[in-house]
Protein backbone atom coordinates (compact mmCIF):
# COMPACT_ATOMS: atom_id res chain seq x y z
CA UNK A 1 0.00 0.00 0.00
CA UNK A 2 1.22 3.53 -0.69
CA UNK A 3 2.28 5.77 2.17
CA UNK A 4 -0.44 8.27 1.33
CA UNK A 5 -3.08 5.55 1.32
CA UNK A 6 -1.91 4.28 4.69
CA UNK A 7 -2.07 7.77 6.13
CA UNK A 8 -5.77 7.91 5.34
CA UNK A 9 -6.63 4.26 5.96
CA UNK A 10 -5.10 3.88 9.44
CA UNK A 11 -7.02 6.80 11.05
CA UNK A 12 -10.20 5.52 9.38
CA UNK A 13 -9.65 2.09 10.94
CA UNK A 14 -9.09 3.82 14.29
CA UNK A 15 -12.34 5.78 13.90
CA UNK A 16 -14.21 2.61 12.99
CA UNK A 17 -12.77 0.69 15.98
CA UNK A 18 -13.65 3.63 18.24
CA UNK A 19 -17.28 3.55 17.14
CA UNK A 20 -17.40 -0.24 17.52
CA UNK A 21 -16.00 -0.04 21.05
CA UNK A 22 -18.45 2.76 21.91
CA UNK A 23 -21.37 0.67 20.62
CA UNK A 24 -20.21 -2.32 22.66
CA UNK A 25 -20.15 -0.20 25.82
CA UNK A 26 -23.63 1.09 25.04
CA UNK A 27 -24.88 -2.48 24.54
CA UNK A 28 -23.09 -3.72 27.67
CA UNK A 29 -24.87 -1.08 29.75
CA UNK A 30 -28.24 -2.02 28.30
CA UNK A 31 -28.85 0.91 25.95
CA UNK A 32 -29.57 0.94 22.24
CA UNK A 33 -26.71 1.72 19.84
CA UNK A 34 -29.26 2.42 17.08
CA UNK A 35 -30.58 5.35 19.10
CA UNK A 36 -27.00 6.54 19.53
CA UNK A 37 -26.29 6.53 15.80
CA UNK A 38 -29.64 8.17 15.05
CA UNK A 39 -28.70 10.94 17.49
CA UNK A 40 -25.36 11.35 15.71
CA UNK A 41 -26.99 11.65 12.29
CA UNK A 42 -29.46 14.19 13.62
CA UNK A 43 -26.59 15.99 15.35
CA UNK A 44 -24.95 17.04 12.11
CA UNK A 45 -27.69 16.93 9.48
CA UNK A 46 -30.85 17.79 11.37
CA UNK A 47 -32.55 14.75 9.83
CA UNK A 48 -34.42 12.52 12.22
CA UNK A 49 -34.36 8.94 10.92
CA UNK A 50 -36.44 7.46 13.73
CA UNK A 51 -39.27 9.90 14.32
CA UNK A 52 -41.29 11.51 11.58
CA UNK A 53 -40.41 15.15 12.19
CA UNK A 54 -39.51 17.75 9.55
CA UNK A 55 -35.92 18.54 8.63
CA UNK A 56 -34.46 20.97 11.16
CA UNK A 57 -31.55 23.02 9.80
CA UNK A 58 -30.91 24.43 13.26
CA UNK A 59 -28.83 21.33 14.06
CA UNK A 60 -26.51 22.03 11.14
CA UNK A 61 -25.74 25.48 12.54
CA UNK A 62 -25.08 24.14 16.02
CA UNK A 63 -22.92 21.37 14.55
CA UNK A 64 -20.73 23.90 12.73
CA UNK A 65 -20.25 26.06 15.84
CA UNK A 66 -19.24 22.94 17.77
CA UNK A 67 -16.64 22.06 15.15
CA UNK A 68 -15.09 25.56 14.82
CA UNK A 69 -13.21 25.90 18.13
CA UNK A 70 -11.91 22.33 18.13
CA UNK A 71 -10.56 22.72 14.60
CA UNK A 72 -8.61 25.72 15.89
CA UNK A 73 -7.31 23.97 19.02
CA UNK A 74 -6.48 21.04 16.73
CA UNK A 75 -4.38 23.36 14.58
CA UNK A 76 -2.72 24.65 17.76
CA UNK A 77 -1.72 21.18 18.90
CA UNK A 78 -0.63 20.15 15.41
CA UNK A 79 1.55 23.20 14.88
CA UNK A 80 3.54 22.56 18.05
CA UNK A 81 3.57 18.88 17.22
CA UNK A 82 5.24 19.55 13.86
CA UNK A 83 8.14 21.10 15.79
CA UNK A 84 8.36 18.03 17.99
CA UNK A 85 6.55 19.60 20.94
CA UNK A 86 3.65 18.04 22.81
CA UNK A 87 1.59 21.01 23.94
CA UNK A 88 -1.42 20.43 26.19
CA UNK A 89 -1.77 24.17 26.63
CA UNK A 90 -4.51 24.95 24.11
CA UNK A 91 -7.11 24.96 26.86
CA UNK A 92 -5.42 27.77 28.77
CA UNK A 93 -4.46 29.67 25.64
CA UNK A 94 -8.09 29.52 24.56
CA UNK A 95 -9.15 30.83 27.94
CA UNK A 96 -6.81 33.83 27.97
CA UNK A 97 -7.82 34.46 24.34
CA UNK A 98 -11.42 34.50 25.46
CA UNK A 99 -10.53 36.80 28.36
CA UNK A 100 -8.71 39.22 26.05
CA UNK A 101 -11.69 39.19 23.68
CA UNK A 102 -14.00 39.97 26.59
CA UNK A 103 -11.77 42.84 27.73
CA UNK A 104 -11.55 44.48 24.31
CA UNK A 105 -15.24 43.89 23.61
CA UNK A 106 -16.31 45.60 26.82
CA UNK A 107 -13.76 48.40 27.11
CA UNK A 108 -13.30 49.58 23.51
CA UNK A 109 -15.96 51.52 21.64
CA UNK A 110 -15.57 51.60 17.89
CA UNK A 111 -17.48 50.83 14.69
CA UNK A 112 -17.75 47.15 13.84
CA UNK A 113 -15.08 47.04 11.11
CA UNK A 114 -12.50 48.24 13.67
CA UNK A 115 -13.88 46.75 16.89
CA UNK A 116 -14.36 43.16 15.72
CA UNK A 117 -10.85 42.79 14.19
CA UNK A 118 -9.43 44.30 17.38
CA UNK A 119 -11.26 41.69 19.46
CA UNK A 120 -9.93 38.86 17.29
CA UNK A 121 -6.38 40.25 17.29
CA UNK A 122 -6.42 40.67 21.07
CA UNK A 123 -7.37 37.03 21.54
CA UNK A 124 -4.67 35.91 19.10
CA UNK A 125 -2.04 37.99 20.90
CA UNK A 126 -3.10 36.72 24.33
CA UNK A 127 -3.01 33.10 23.18
CA UNK A 128 0.44 33.62 21.64
CA UNK A 129 1.73 35.18 24.85
CA UNK A 130 0.38 32.28 26.93
CA UNK A 131 1.97 29.83 24.53
CA UNK A 132 5.28 31.67 24.65
CA UNK A 133 5.75 30.83 28.35
CA UNK A 134 6.14 27.04 28.00
CA UNK A 135 8.06 27.63 24.76
CA UNK A 136 10.50 29.96 26.47
CA UNK A 137 10.96 27.67 29.48
CA UNK A 138 11.52 24.71 27.18
CA UNK A 139 14.08 26.56 25.07
CA UNK A 140 15.87 28.25 27.94
CA UNK A 141 15.71 25.77 30.83
CA UNK A 142 14.71 22.55 29.06
CA UNK A 143 11.60 22.19 31.25
CA UNK A 144 9.17 19.72 29.72
CA UNK A 145 6.44 21.59 27.85
CA UNK A 146 3.72 19.09 28.81
CA UNK A 147 3.89 19.85 32.53
CA UNK A 148 4.29 23.60 32.11
CA UNK A 149 1.45 23.90 29.62
CA UNK A 150 -0.88 21.96 31.92
CA UNK A 151 0.00 24.25 34.81
CA UNK A 152 -0.61 27.24 32.55
CA UNK A 153 -4.11 25.88 31.87
CA UNK A 154 -5.02 26.00 35.53
CA UNK A 155 -3.44 29.42 35.98
CA UNK A 156 -5.45 30.70 32.99
CA UNK A 157 -8.65 29.33 34.49
CA UNK A 158 -8.14 31.13 37.79
CA UNK A 159 -6.91 34.31 36.10
CA UNK A 160 -10.01 34.32 33.92
CA UNK A 161 -12.31 33.85 36.89
CA UNK A 162 -10.50 36.51 38.89
CA UNK A 163 -10.83 39.15 36.15
CA UNK A 164 -14.43 38.27 35.24
CA UNK A 165 -15.62 38.19 38.85
CA UNK A 166 -13.61 41.01 40.38
CA UNK A 167 -12.91 43.49 37.61
CA UNK A 168 -15.90 43.19 35.29
CA UNK A 169 -18.09 42.49 38.29
CA UNK A 170 -20.63 39.97 37.10
CA UNK A 171 -23.99 40.08 38.84
CA UNK A 172 -24.70 36.38 39.01
CA UNK A 173 -21.10 35.19 39.55
CA UNK A 174 -21.05 33.68 36.07
CA UNK A 175 -21.50 36.25 33.28
CA UNK A 176 -20.26 39.73 32.44
CA UNK A 177 -22.54 42.36 30.91
CA UNK A 178 -23.54 41.74 27.27
CA UNK A 179 -21.06 42.90 24.63
CA UNK A 180 -21.95 45.73 22.26
CA UNK A 181 -23.15 44.55 18.82
CA UNK A 182 -20.00 45.96 17.19
CA UNK A 183 -17.82 43.34 18.87
CA UNK A 184 -19.84 40.32 17.77
CA UNK A 185 -19.44 37.77 14.97
CA UNK A 186 -23.21 37.42 14.97
CA UNK A 187 -25.06 37.23 11.67
CA UNK A 188 -28.86 37.53 11.41
CA UNK A 189 -28.64 36.08 7.88
CA UNK A 190 -26.85 32.90 8.97
CA UNK A 191 -29.22 32.58 11.90
CA UNK A 192 -32.24 32.88 9.64
CA UNK A 193 -31.14 30.11 7.26
CA UNK A 194 -30.47 27.75 10.18
CA UNK A 195 -33.72 28.41 12.05
CA UNK A 196 -32.25 30.56 14.80
CA UNK A 197 -29.09 28.56 15.60
CA UNK A 198 -26.06 30.34 17.00
CA UNK A 199 -24.20 30.02 13.68
CA UNK A 200 -22.00 33.09 13.02
CA UNK A 201 -19.19 34.46 10.87
CA UNK A 202 -16.65 32.65 13.04
CA UNK A 203 -16.15 30.05 10.32
CA UNK A 204 -14.33 32.63 8.18
CA UNK A 205 -11.37 33.06 10.57
CA UNK A 206 -11.38 29.27 11.02
CA UNK A 207 -11.00 28.69 7.27
CA UNK A 208 -8.32 31.38 7.09
CA UNK A 209 -6.49 29.67 9.96
CA UNK A 210 -6.57 26.33 8.12
CA UNK A 211 -5.10 27.96 5.00
CA UNK A 212 -2.44 29.87 6.97
CA UNK A 213 -1.45 26.70 8.84
CA UNK A 214 -1.01 24.75 5.65
CA UNK A 215 0.86 27.61 3.99
CA UNK A 216 3.35 28.18 6.84
CA UNK A 217 4.09 24.48 7.32
CA UNK A 218 4.32 23.42 3.68
CA UNK A 219 5.29 26.47 1.65
CA UNK A 220 7.70 28.61 3.69
CA UNK A 221 11.36 28.26 4.64
CA UNK A 222 10.31 28.98 8.20
CA UNK A 223 7.86 26.08 8.15
CA UNK A 224 10.54 23.81 6.75
CA UNK A 225 12.96 24.72 9.54
CA UNK A 226 10.19 24.13 12.11
CA UNK A 227 9.62 20.65 10.74
CA UNK A 228 13.36 20.03 10.64
CA UNK A 229 13.58 20.83 14.35
CA UNK A 230 10.72 18.39 14.90
CA UNK A 231 12.52 15.60 13.07
CA UNK A 232 15.98 16.08 14.52
CA UNK A 233 16.95 18.87 16.85
CA UNK A 234 20.68 18.26 16.76
CA UNK A 235 20.89 18.00 13.00
CA UNK A 236 18.94 21.26 12.62
CA UNK A 237 21.22 23.02 15.05
CA UNK A 238 24.21 21.68 13.12
CA UNK A 239 22.66 22.98 9.89
CA UNK A 240 22.59 26.45 11.44
CA UNK A 241 18.90 26.69 12.33
CA UNK A 242 17.97 28.61 15.43
CA UNK A 243 16.42 25.72 17.35
CA UNK A 244 15.48 27.63 20.49
CA UNK A 245 13.95 30.49 18.54
CA UNK A 246 11.95 28.00 16.50
CA UNK A 247 10.64 26.30 19.63
CA UNK A 248 9.43 29.59 21.10
CA UNK A 249 7.92 30.80 17.82
CA UNK A 250 6.20 27.49 17.22
CA UNK A 251 4.59 27.55 20.65
CA UNK A 252 3.53 31.17 20.10
CA UNK A 253 1.88 30.44 16.76
CA UNK A 254 0.21 27.39 18.25
CA UNK A 255 -1.03 29.62 21.08
CA UNK A 256 -2.32 32.13 18.54
CA UNK A 257 -4.59 29.50 16.94
CA UNK A 258 -5.94 28.47 20.33
CA UNK A 259 -6.39 32.12 21.38
CA UNK A 260 -8.45 32.74 18.27
CA UNK A 261 -10.66 29.81 19.28
CA UNK A 262 -11.31 31.73 22.50
CA UNK A 263 -12.74 34.75 20.69
CA UNK A 264 -14.67 32.60 18.21
CA UNK A 265 -16.47 31.11 21.21
CA UNK A 266 -16.79 34.27 23.28
CA UNK A 267 -17.96 36.79 20.66
CA UNK A 268 -19.44 34.17 18.32
CA UNK A 269 -21.28 31.48 20.23
CA UNK A 270 -21.82 33.69 23.26
CA UNK A 271 -22.05 37.45 23.69
CA UNK A 272 -20.72 37.81 27.21
CA UNK A 273 -17.60 36.80 29.16
CA UNK A 274 -17.93 33.80 31.46
CA UNK A 275 -16.39 32.61 34.72
CA UNK A 276 -15.89 28.84 34.74
CA UNK A 277 -15.63 26.20 37.43
CA UNK A 278 -13.48 23.93 35.28
CA UNK A 279 -11.98 23.78 31.80
CA UNK A 280 -14.43 22.90 29.06
CA UNK A 281 -12.20 20.39 27.31
CA UNK A 282 -11.62 22.22 24.02
CA UNK A 283 -7.88 21.69 24.49
CA UNK A 284 -8.15 17.92 24.85
CA UNK A 285 -10.63 17.82 21.97
CA UNK A 286 -8.02 19.65 19.91
CA UNK A 287 -5.40 17.02 20.72
CA UNK A 288 -7.78 14.31 19.58
CA UNK A 289 -8.60 16.26 16.41
CA UNK A 290 -4.94 16.81 15.53
CA UNK A 291 -3.91 13.20 16.21
CA UNK A 292 -6.74 11.76 14.17
CA UNK A 293 -6.16 14.36 11.44
CA UNK A 294 -2.49 13.37 11.18
CA UNK A 295 -1.34 16.93 12.04
CA UNK A 296 -2.33 18.16 8.59
CA UNK A 297 -4.77 20.94 7.76
CA UNK A 298 -7.11 18.79 5.64
CA UNK A 299 -7.11 15.96 8.16
CA UNK A 300 -7.76 18.37 11.01
CA UNK A 301 -10.71 19.81 9.13
CA UNK A 302 -12.39 16.41 8.76
CA UNK A 303 -11.47 15.23 12.26
CA UNK A 304 -12.82 18.52 13.67
CA UNK A 305 -16.08 17.90 11.83
CA UNK A 306 -16.23 14.34 13.18
CA UNK A 307 -15.75 15.35 16.80
CA UNK A 308 -17.98 18.40 16.33
CA UNK A 309 -20.67 15.97 15.26
CA UNK A 310 -20.11 13.86 18.39
CA UNK A 311 -20.36 16.98 20.53
CA UNK A 312 -23.58 18.21 18.99
CA UNK A 313 -25.09 14.73 19.29
CA UNK A 314 -24.47 14.71 23.05
CA UNK A 315 -27.70 16.39 24.23
CA UNK A 316 -29.68 14.28 21.76
CA UNK A 317 -28.16 11.08 23.13
CA UNK A 318 -28.85 12.19 26.67
CA UNK A 319 -32.51 12.71 25.78
CA UNK A 320 -32.57 9.15 24.37
CA UNK A 321 -31.40 7.82 27.73
CA UNK A 322 -27.80 7.29 26.61
CA UNK A 323 -25.40 9.16 28.92
CA UNK A 324 -23.80 12.00 26.95
CA UNK A 325 -20.32 10.99 28.10
CA UNK A 326 -20.34 8.18 25.54
CA UNK A 327 -19.12 10.83 23.07
CA UNK A 328 -16.00 11.36 25.19
CA UNK A 329 -15.49 7.61 25.47
CA UNK A 330 -15.67 7.16 21.70
CA UNK A 331 -13.34 10.10 21.17
CA UNK A 332 -10.77 8.78 23.65
CA UNK A 333 -10.88 5.28 22.16
CA UNK A 334 -10.34 6.71 18.67
CA UNK A 335 -7.25 8.54 19.96
CA UNK A 336 -6.05 5.38 21.67
CA UNK A 337 -6.43 3.40 18.45
CA UNK A 338 -4.64 6.15 16.50
CA UNK A 339 -1.80 5.93 19.02
CA UNK A 340 -1.66 2.20 18.41
CA UNK A 341 -1.56 2.59 14.63
CA UNK A 342 1.96 1.19 14.30
CA UNK A 343 0.78 -1.89 16.10
CA UNK A 344 -2.31 -2.07 13.90
CA UNK A 345 -0.10 -1.64 10.86
CA UNK A 346 2.09 -4.52 11.99
CA UNK A 347 -0.99 -6.70 12.43
CA UNK A 348 -2.23 -5.68 8.96
CA UNK A 349 1.15 -6.46 7.41
CA UNK A 350 1.31 -9.82 9.12
CA UNK A 351 -2.22 -10.60 7.94
CA UNK A 352 -1.30 -9.63 4.37
CA UNK A 353 1.86 -11.73 4.44
CA UNK A 354 -0.14 -14.72 5.61
CA UNK A 355 -2.56 -14.19 2.74
CA UNK A 356 0.33 -13.92 0.30
CA UNK A 357 1.84 -17.10 1.68
CA UNK A 358 -1.42 -19.05 1.43
CA UNK A 359 -1.93 -17.70 -2.10
CA UNK A 360 1.54 -18.98 -3.00
CA UNK A 361 0.68 -22.30 -1.43
CA UNK A 362 -2.40 -22.62 -3.58
CA UNK A 363 -0.46 -21.90 -6.72
CA UNK A 364 2.10 -24.52 -5.83
Amino acid sequence: MTKRGEKILLPLIAVLLGFILGSLIVIATGRSPAAMFAAMIKGFSGLDIINDVPWNTRYIGEFVINAMPIILTGLAFAFASRTGLFSIGAEGQLMVGSLAATTVALLVQAPRFIHLPLVLLASIAAGALWGAVPGFLKAKFNVHEVTVSIMMNYIALHLNNFVILNIFGSQDRVKTAFFPETALLKSPFLQSITRGSRLNWGFIPVILALIIFSFIINKTTFGYSLRAVGYNKDASRYAGMKVNRNIILSMMIAGAFAGLAGSVITVGTFNFGRAMSAAEGYGFDGIAVALVGGNEASGIFFAGMLFGMLKSAQPLMQSQGIPREIAGIIQASIVLFVAMQYGIKMLLDRFKKKQAVSADGERA
Binding site: M152, L159, R324, A332
Partner: protein, 274 residues
Protein backbone atom coordinates in the same frame (compact mmCIF):
# COMPACT_ATOMS: atom_id res chain seq x y z
CA UNK B 1 -6.70 8.48 39.76
CA UNK B 2 -10.13 9.32 38.36
CA UNK B 3 -10.96 5.66 37.83
CA UNK B 4 -9.65 4.82 41.31
CA UNK B 5 -11.61 7.67 42.88
CA UNK B 6 -14.79 6.71 41.07
CA UNK B 7 -14.52 3.04 42.05
CA UNK B 8 -13.69 3.88 45.64
CA UNK B 9 -16.62 6.26 45.96
CA UNK B 10 -19.04 3.87 44.25
CA UNK B 11 -18.07 0.86 46.34
CA UNK B 12 -18.25 2.95 49.50
CA UNK B 13 -21.72 4.24 48.65
CA UNK B 14 -23.06 0.83 47.70
CA UNK B 15 -21.66 -1.07 50.72
CA UNK B 16 -22.07 1.67 53.30
CA UNK B 17 -25.28 0.27 54.75
CA UNK B 18 -24.06 -3.28 55.06
CA UNK B 19 -20.57 -2.91 56.52
CA UNK B 20 -18.54 -0.39 58.50
CA UNK B 21 -15.48 -1.37 56.49
CA UNK B 22 -17.00 0.12 53.32
CA UNK B 23 -14.42 2.92 52.88
CA UNK B 24 -11.57 0.41 53.15
CA UNK B 25 -13.18 -1.90 50.65
CA UNK B 26 -13.62 1.22 48.52
CA UNK B 27 -9.88 1.89 48.69
CA UNK B 28 -9.15 -1.68 47.66
CA UNK B 29 -11.57 -1.29 44.76
CA UNK B 30 -9.80 1.92 43.73
CA UNK B 31 -6.47 0.09 43.75
CA UNK B 32 -7.77 -2.79 41.66
CA UNK B 33 -9.53 -0.44 39.23
CA UNK B 34 -6.30 1.51 38.85
CA UNK B 35 -4.45 -1.68 37.90
CA UNK B 36 -7.11 -2.77 35.42
CA UNK B 37 -7.21 0.66 33.77
CA UNK B 38 -3.42 0.84 33.59
CA UNK B 39 -3.43 -2.46 31.69
CA UNK B 40 -4.90 -0.57 28.73
CA UNK B 41 -1.83 1.65 28.78
CA UNK B 42 0.45 -1.37 29.08
CA UNK B 43 -1.14 -3.14 26.13
CA UNK B 44 -1.04 0.01 24.00
CA UNK B 45 2.54 0.98 24.78
CA UNK B 46 4.24 -2.39 25.31
CA UNK B 47 2.46 -4.57 22.75
CA UNK B 48 1.17 -2.06 20.22
CA UNK B 49 4.17 0.32 20.19
CA UNK B 50 1.99 3.34 20.98
CA UNK B 51 3.55 6.67 21.84
CA UNK B 52 3.22 6.70 25.63
CA UNK B 53 2.38 10.39 25.94
CA UNK B 54 -0.45 10.03 23.43
CA UNK B 55 -1.82 6.85 24.93
CA UNK B 56 -1.61 8.43 28.40
CA UNK B 57 -3.50 11.48 27.16
CA UNK B 58 -6.13 9.27 25.56
CA UNK B 59 -6.59 7.38 28.84
CA UNK B 60 -7.01 10.65 30.72
CA UNK B 61 -9.83 11.66 28.37
CA UNK B 62 -11.26 8.15 28.55
CA UNK B 63 -11.25 8.17 32.37
CA UNK B 64 -13.31 11.36 32.47
CA UNK B 65 -15.83 9.99 29.98
CA UNK B 66 -16.06 6.48 31.37
CA UNK B 67 -16.44 7.38 35.05
CA UNK B 68 -19.19 9.93 34.50
CA UNK B 69 -20.89 7.60 32.00
CA UNK B 70 -20.99 4.87 34.63
CA UNK B 71 -22.23 7.37 37.22
CA UNK B 72 -25.15 8.09 34.90
CA UNK B 73 -25.85 4.39 34.47
CA UNK B 74 -25.55 3.52 38.18
CA UNK B 75 -26.77 6.68 39.92
CA UNK B 76 -28.71 8.44 37.13
CA UNK B 77 -26.75 11.65 37.65
CA UNK B 78 -23.35 13.00 36.58
CA UNK B 79 -21.69 12.15 39.89
CA UNK B 80 -21.84 9.34 42.42
CA UNK B 81 -24.33 9.52 45.26
CA UNK B 82 -22.63 11.08 48.26
CA UNK B 83 -21.41 8.75 50.98
CA UNK B 84 -22.09 9.58 54.62
CA UNK B 85 -18.73 8.46 56.01
CA UNK B 86 -15.39 8.51 54.24
CA UNK B 87 -12.24 7.36 55.97
CA UNK B 88 -12.27 8.35 59.62
CA UNK B 89 -9.45 10.14 61.40
CA UNK B 90 -7.60 8.18 64.08
CA UNK B 91 -5.39 8.93 67.04
CA UNK B 92 -2.43 6.61 67.44
CA UNK B 93 -1.98 5.52 71.09
CA UNK B 94 1.45 6.05 72.71
CA UNK B 95 2.91 7.90 69.69
CA UNK B 96 0.51 10.76 70.41
CA UNK B 97 2.54 11.47 73.56
CA UNK B 98 5.62 12.56 71.58
CA UNK B 99 5.97 16.31 72.08
CA UNK B 100 5.15 18.57 69.07
CA UNK B 101 5.42 15.77 66.49
CA UNK B 102 2.79 13.73 68.34
CA UNK B 103 0.30 16.56 68.15
CA UNK B 104 1.11 17.25 64.53
CA UNK B 105 1.02 13.72 63.17
CA UNK B 106 -0.58 11.24 65.53
CA UNK B 107 -3.68 12.96 66.95
CA UNK B 108 -6.73 13.04 64.70
CA UNK B 109 -4.99 12.25 61.46
CA UNK B 110 -6.13 10.15 58.52
CA UNK B 111 -4.69 6.62 58.63
CA UNK B 112 -4.10 6.94 54.89
CA UNK B 113 -1.33 9.41 55.71
CA UNK B 114 0.61 6.64 57.45
CA UNK B 115 -0.14 4.35 54.54
CA UNK B 116 1.42 6.88 52.15
CA UNK B 117 4.54 7.24 54.30
CA UNK B 118 4.84 3.47 54.54
CA UNK B 119 4.58 3.17 50.76
CA UNK B 120 7.41 5.67 50.30
CA UNK B 121 9.73 3.46 52.39
CA UNK B 122 8.41 0.30 50.77
CA UNK B 123 9.01 1.69 47.26
CA UNK B 124 12.49 2.84 48.19
CA UNK B 125 13.47 -0.58 49.54
CA UNK B 126 11.89 -2.41 46.61
CA UNK B 127 13.48 -0.25 43.92
CA UNK B 128 16.92 0.40 45.43
CA UNK B 129 17.61 -2.50 47.84
CA UNK B 130 16.41 -5.65 46.10
CA UNK B 131 17.67 -7.56 43.05
CA UNK B 132 14.19 -7.13 41.56
CA UNK B 133 14.50 -3.34 41.88
CA UNK B 134 17.87 -3.37 40.16
CA UNK B 135 16.38 -5.34 37.26
CA UNK B 136 13.42 -2.99 37.08
CA UNK B 137 15.69 0.05 36.91
CA UNK B 138 17.96 -1.56 34.34
CA UNK B 139 14.96 -1.86 32.02
CA UNK B 140 14.41 1.86 32.40
CA UNK B 141 18.02 2.79 31.75
CA UNK B 142 18.99 0.47 28.93
CA UNK B 143 16.39 -2.19 28.10
CA UNK B 144 18.55 -3.78 25.40
CA UNK B 145 21.35 -4.42 27.89
CA UNK B 146 18.83 -5.71 30.41
CA UNK B 147 17.43 -8.10 27.82
CA UNK B 148 20.91 -9.42 27.10
CA UNK B 149 21.15 -10.39 30.78
CA UNK B 150 18.04 -12.50 30.44
CA UNK B 151 15.54 -10.05 31.92
CA UNK B 152 12.07 -10.08 30.40
CA UNK B 153 11.74 -6.40 29.45
CA UNK B 154 8.10 -6.58 28.41
CA UNK B 155 7.11 -8.23 31.69
CA UNK B 156 9.06 -5.66 33.69
CA UNK B 157 7.34 -2.86 31.82
CA UNK B 158 3.97 -4.47 32.50
CA UNK B 159 4.84 -4.64 36.17
CA UNK B 160 5.92 -0.99 36.22
CA UNK B 161 2.75 0.24 34.55
CA UNK B 162 0.51 -1.91 36.78
CA UNK B 163 2.29 -0.83 39.96
CA UNK B 164 1.86 2.80 38.98
CA UNK B 165 -1.79 2.11 38.15
CA UNK B 166 -2.27 0.57 41.60
CA UNK B 167 -0.66 3.52 43.35
CA UNK B 168 -2.59 6.08 41.32
CA UNK B 169 -5.88 4.22 41.82
CA UNK B 170 -5.19 4.11 45.56
CA UNK B 171 -4.36 7.81 45.51
CA UNK B 172 -7.62 8.63 43.75
CA UNK B 173 -9.52 6.58 46.31
CA UNK B 174 -7.76 8.27 49.23
CA UNK B 175 -8.39 11.70 47.74
CA UNK B 176 -12.10 11.22 47.26
CA UNK B 177 -12.68 9.39 50.57
CA UNK B 178 -10.87 11.98 52.70
CA UNK B 179 -11.36 15.30 50.93
CA UNK B 180 -14.71 14.90 49.17
CA UNK B 181 -18.21 13.59 49.79
CA UNK B 182 -18.75 12.06 46.35
CA UNK B 183 -16.97 11.55 43.05
CA UNK B 184 -17.47 14.24 40.39
CA UNK B 185 -15.67 15.02 37.16
CA UNK B 186 -13.57 17.65 38.95
CA UNK B 187 -12.79 15.60 42.09
CA UNK B 188 -9.21 15.02 40.99
CA UNK B 189 -8.56 18.37 39.26
CA UNK B 190 -5.11 17.76 37.80
CA UNK B 191 -3.47 16.13 40.83
CA UNK B 192 -1.86 13.51 38.62
CA UNK B 193 -0.06 16.22 36.70
CA UNK B 194 1.18 17.84 39.90
CA UNK B 195 2.47 14.40 40.84
CA UNK B 196 4.38 14.35 37.56
CA UNK B 197 5.95 17.67 38.52
CA UNK B 198 6.73 16.30 42.02
CA UNK B 199 8.63 13.50 40.38
CA UNK B 200 10.88 15.95 38.54
CA UNK B 201 11.08 18.20 41.58
CA UNK B 202 11.92 15.23 43.82
CA UNK B 203 14.62 14.04 41.41
CA UNK B 204 12.99 10.65 40.76
CA UNK B 205 13.72 9.51 44.33
CA UNK B 206 10.90 8.32 46.67
CA UNK B 207 12.07 10.57 49.51
CA UNK B 208 12.50 13.51 47.16
CA UNK B 209 8.98 12.91 45.93
CA UNK B 210 7.75 12.80 49.53
CA UNK B 211 9.32 16.20 50.14
CA UNK B 212 7.92 17.63 46.91
CA UNK B 213 4.49 16.22 47.77
CA UNK B 214 4.57 17.84 51.21
CA UNK B 215 5.55 21.12 49.56
CA UNK B 216 2.62 21.03 47.12
CA UNK B 217 0.30 19.94 49.92
CA UNK B 218 1.45 22.97 51.89
CA UNK B 219 0.74 25.35 49.02
CA UNK B 220 -2.76 23.89 48.61
CA UNK B 221 -3.45 24.08 52.34
CA UNK B 222 -2.31 27.69 52.31
CA UNK B 223 -5.30 28.63 50.17
CA UNK B 224 -7.66 27.27 52.85
CA UNK B 225 -6.02 29.10 55.72
CA UNK B 226 -5.06 32.32 53.94
CA UNK B 227 -8.22 34.11 54.98
CA UNK B 228 -7.22 33.75 58.65
CA UNK B 229 -3.77 35.22 58.15
CA UNK B 230 -4.05 39.00 58.14
CA UNK B 231 -1.46 39.97 55.59
CA UNK B 232 -2.63 37.29 53.16
CA UNK B 233 -6.36 37.83 53.58
CA UNK B 234 -6.45 40.85 51.29
CA UNK B 235 -5.32 38.78 48.30
CA UNK B 236 -8.12 37.31 46.16
CA UNK B 237 -9.04 33.63 46.53
CA UNK B 238 -8.21 32.94 42.88
CA UNK B 239 -4.60 33.84 43.65
CA UNK B 240 -4.35 30.95 46.09
CA UNK B 241 -6.18 28.53 43.82
CA UNK B 242 -3.56 29.25 41.15
CA UNK B 243 -0.64 29.18 43.59
CA UNK B 244 0.15 25.43 43.55
CA UNK B 245 0.34 25.53 39.76
CA UNK B 246 2.58 28.62 39.70
CA UNK B 247 4.84 27.05 42.31
CA UNK B 248 5.02 23.89 40.23
CA UNK B 249 6.36 25.84 37.27
CA UNK B 250 8.85 27.69 39.48
CA UNK B 251 10.01 24.41 41.01
CA UNK B 252 10.40 22.86 37.58
CA UNK B 253 12.50 25.76 36.34
CA UNK B 254 14.73 25.72 39.41
CA UNK B 255 15.26 21.96 39.44
CA UNK B 256 14.93 21.12 35.77
CA UNK B 257 18.57 20.88 34.71
CA UNK B 258 19.55 18.74 37.64
CA UNK B 259 16.87 16.08 37.43
CA UNK B 260 18.06 12.71 36.21
CA UNK B 261 15.31 10.39 35.04
CA UNK B 262 15.77 6.93 33.59
CA UNK B 263 17.34 7.18 30.14
CA UNK B 264 14.77 5.05 28.35
CA UNK B 265 11.69 6.63 29.99
CA UNK B 266 8.91 7.09 27.44
CA UNK B 267 10.71 5.18 24.70
CA UNK B 268 9.28 2.30 22.77
CA UNK B 269 11.33 -0.84 23.39
CA UNK B 270 12.88 -1.98 20.16
CA UNK B 271 14.89 -5.14 20.73
CA UNK B 272 16.90 -4.55 17.54
CA UNK B 273 18.30 -1.20 18.63
CA UNK B 274 21.77 -0.81 20.10
Amino acid sequence: MMVGAFSAATVTVLLEDSTALAPWLGLAAGLVAGIVFSLLHAVASVNMNADQTISGTALNILAGGLTVYLCQIIFRQQRTRSFSNGIQKVTVPLLEKIPVLGRMLFIENYPTFFLAIFLVFFTWILVYKTPFGLRLRSCGEHPQAAASMGINVAWMRYFGVMASGALAGLAGGIMVLTADIQYTLVSIHGTGFIALASLVFGKWNPFGVLGAGLFFGFSTALSFYAKDITFLASLPGEFFYALPYVLTIVALVVFAGKSVGPKAAGQIYDSGRR
